[in-house]
Symmetry: C2
């Protein structure tokens, strides 16, 4: 077998400035794409070998899109046309600013410029029980686990004798009323209305309850009150049970207890309630505020000239955004592109230019013909127009010709047929401790 | 949590004859589709909740197609239009012919007619070591594991210092020169030529060796000598190392030893060398010959009038096929359709008609513009014409409008761009014992 000791990073030495980028999300790839290998050596670290289009991840969880449609291999995005570009599917474990190196399990690497673009990870606020039993929705394997869990639950509900147990299989509780939670809830509601009755003719899906639990006083808190109100109306039209100003106290895999005491029996708790910055060891604590690196308008981390942070992991405060930029794709994309420009200016002996966020507006989709959009200058759209805008923007930004086509076809196909193509339990979902999934695969495997 | 004791099959009682089908492959679904719910109650058991188009499985393993493109949810194929049809994603553990019931983990079910359509499973000929370390290619998770293993091996090779270890990572040994082995080898050769050099600019893929090991004296033994000869030529043109009349003695996960003593260091041994019928407990031993149920021309299992076997699990000998029909899709499809006709004849008080196999010919693809076809009347095609025929036939037979489109687009796209879209390590491949995969994920996960 191969041991880690036998591996090394194998990054060629160079006389060019070496830019080390940690993270292949929207920020990282937009920075790397704009840096020419003639001027810089670019080294990109990312745990997965693909770039994920996370705004559509909920589509994978609800069997609307295949995982491959929202992910693009990083080596395909940065092919031979990218001179002196080096991708390593490796986790960076430590930053050593004094020696200007980063540490990985197979060796250290010197950097001239280090860019932290690690984004966020699910935040369970220290609740180990919820971490253990709930379904987060941050990565493709999360979405595939949730897809399997949902489909397995329907199959189990179709075979259970106990009405209370059936109800707990048909109760889906989504915690978090942000874009992910709202879009997940809407997608499940469409599945309940258009797909499941045809798949399970014997079953009564009016029993299927979709709960959306939000701690604040409105859904989609990052968006305008107008859009929140429209979204609330859409969700209720689609039969989603919305609980505002409600926090989750505990979940034991069987019963979720809400603050205030209300209890809901469910086998599936979707955790879209919060994220925390994916910080890296070695940085001084004073550079971090609430899980994000404090950066100036040049994205330089406080106290450093050669360490930068972009996207969700960066906290840049401006007059327009006193609490930092919204945690969506656009600021990350723009900061990545802007930082590339600044690196080039530096080479030309010019000074950095401060980052200015250009707000293109934000969108959320609740269902077919139901979406909301906040555009600049306080323009708020809803309904079909917003839905078309959402569709266009997402297909446009999906990276990779093929993926766009596959996604487009899936969309057109689903729009006209109300069909979902990918209701596959490819890997049964199984928790390590003997829970429902274990029982499910017992049904299929005897050996 | 949910316990199996809380589940039951929940199949409604009926006065109609109940046809129980075990297996949702080509035979099972073509039988079920032709039986009307007005005349019969149809109960289909299949371990997965989807029907797989297995002839294209190798495409998933080599990152050419996404898994969802070759699989169709069974509940989507048999929707509300199919009256009194019942699918259960459950394994049948036993047949009790005396009581005319089948046994599952959640209860027994009575049948009037039982159809065994379980197909085949990988056959390691009792070699536990090969079973443990090799990569079979029978199910979608097999293909995804192999895809991850191949991509992980390239990433590791790109980071290893030891030339011998790099070689063992770049050596791929495919055991079995049948259609699966040949198509897998051809697809890997195209990947080596058109994809990998662009993905790994620093690496020399002339070092990558693809071995195809076959025990008999020609590749594609089921096809005509002409096609075998053409295929052999194509494979050699593509730089595949073919070893005929060669058997594998052992493989310890590091070194494969061939009968005769030759050894090849490889981390990836693809096992396409044999299949065995997936028989079920409870049937008398005399009904089974070399892993298949002996059936008459009506597909009735020897000694039974109410138990049938179709497709790969059935051994029907005719003058034209003294050793049974070839283990491909066509006989299964035709036997399923024919048995449906016979069941309907029975209802009309008519007698069964004997099955007659209509040979539409057989096809195999080696690479772009390289395929072979054996057509009736000893017509043998090769090259571009056969390739187009292969493409047409496979797209035509892929079940489901959407999947056909996705597959077609992938094909057109790949044909013109030499690109493969789905080179994703979505789940790192990890063996239970601490092998290479374990090391690989260590690179990515610290927590």
């Amino acid at each position: 077998m191969l041991r880690l000791e036998e591996l090394s990073l194998n990054i060629p030495d160079t006389t060019k400035p070496r830019v080390v980028i940690i993270g292949g999300g929207f920020g990282g790839i937009n920075l790397a794409r704009k840096l020419s290998g003639k001027d810089f050596q670019v080294v990109l670290f990312n745990k997965q070998n693909y770039h994920g289009f996370w705004p559509l991840l909920y589509q994978v969880a609800t069997a609307g899109l295949e995982p491959d449609a929202i992910a693009e291999p990083l080596r395909k995005m940065f092919d031979e046309d990218y001179e002196d570009f080096h991708f390593r599917p490796i986790r960076v474990t430590r930053i050593n600013s004094e020696s200007k190196t980063i540490t990985t399990l197979i060796g250290d690497l010197r950097y001239d410029y280090l860019v932290i673009a690690t984004g966020t990870k699910s935040n369970f606020f220290g609740n180990e029980q919820i971490k253990k039993y709930s379904f987060p929705l941050k990565q493709i394997p999360d979405a595939l686990n949730l897809r399997s869990q949902l489909l397995q639950s329907f199959e189990m509900a179709n075979m259970t004798k106990d009405p209370e147990k059936r109800q707990s299989l048909l109760n889906i509780v989504i915690v978090g009323g942000g874009p992910t939670g709202v879009e997940m809830a809407g997608s499940l509601a469409e599945m309940r209305k258009h797909i499941l009755p045809g798949d399970y003719p014997g079953m009564d899906f009016s029993q299927m309850n979709i709960y959306l639990v939000e701690g604040l006083d409105r859904v989609l808190p990052p968006m305008s009150p107008e859009s929140s109100h429209k979204t609330h109306k859409y969700l209720e039209e689609m039969g989603i049970i919305i609980k505002l100003k409600t926090l989750v106290e505990s979940y034991d895999g069987e019963v979720v207890t809400l603050k205030g005491g209300e209890q809901i029996r469910t086998q599936t708790l979707v955790w879209a309630a919060g994220v925390a910055g994916a910080t890296i060891e070695g940085m001084p604590p004073e550079t971090v505020e609430r899980g994000k690196y404090i950066v100036n308008r040049f994205n330089q981390v406080q106290g450093f000239t050669d360490i930068f942070a972009i996207g969700d992991i960066a906290k840049m405060t401006t007059d327009l955004f006193p609490n930092g930029h919204p945690g969506v794709a656009q600021p990350a994309i723009q900061q990545g592109q802007h930082l590339a420009k600044n690196f080039k200016r530096l080479l030309r002996g010019e000074t950095y230019e401060p980052f200015e966020y250009f707000d293109k507006g934000s969108l959320a989709i609740i269902g077919r013909n139901r979406a909301v959009a906040d555009l600049p200058k306080n323009v708020h759209l809803g309904g079909f127009i917003a839905w078309m805008a959402w569709l266009f923007v997402h297909i446009y930004y999906l990276i990779g010709f093929r993926n766009k086509l596959v996604v487009l076809i899936n969309w057109v196909y689903r729009f006209f047929t109300y069909e979902r193509g990918t209701r596959l339990i490819i890997r049964a979902f199984v928790r390590k401790d003997d829970k429902q999934g274990q029982e499910f695969i017992k049904l299929q495997r005897m050996d």
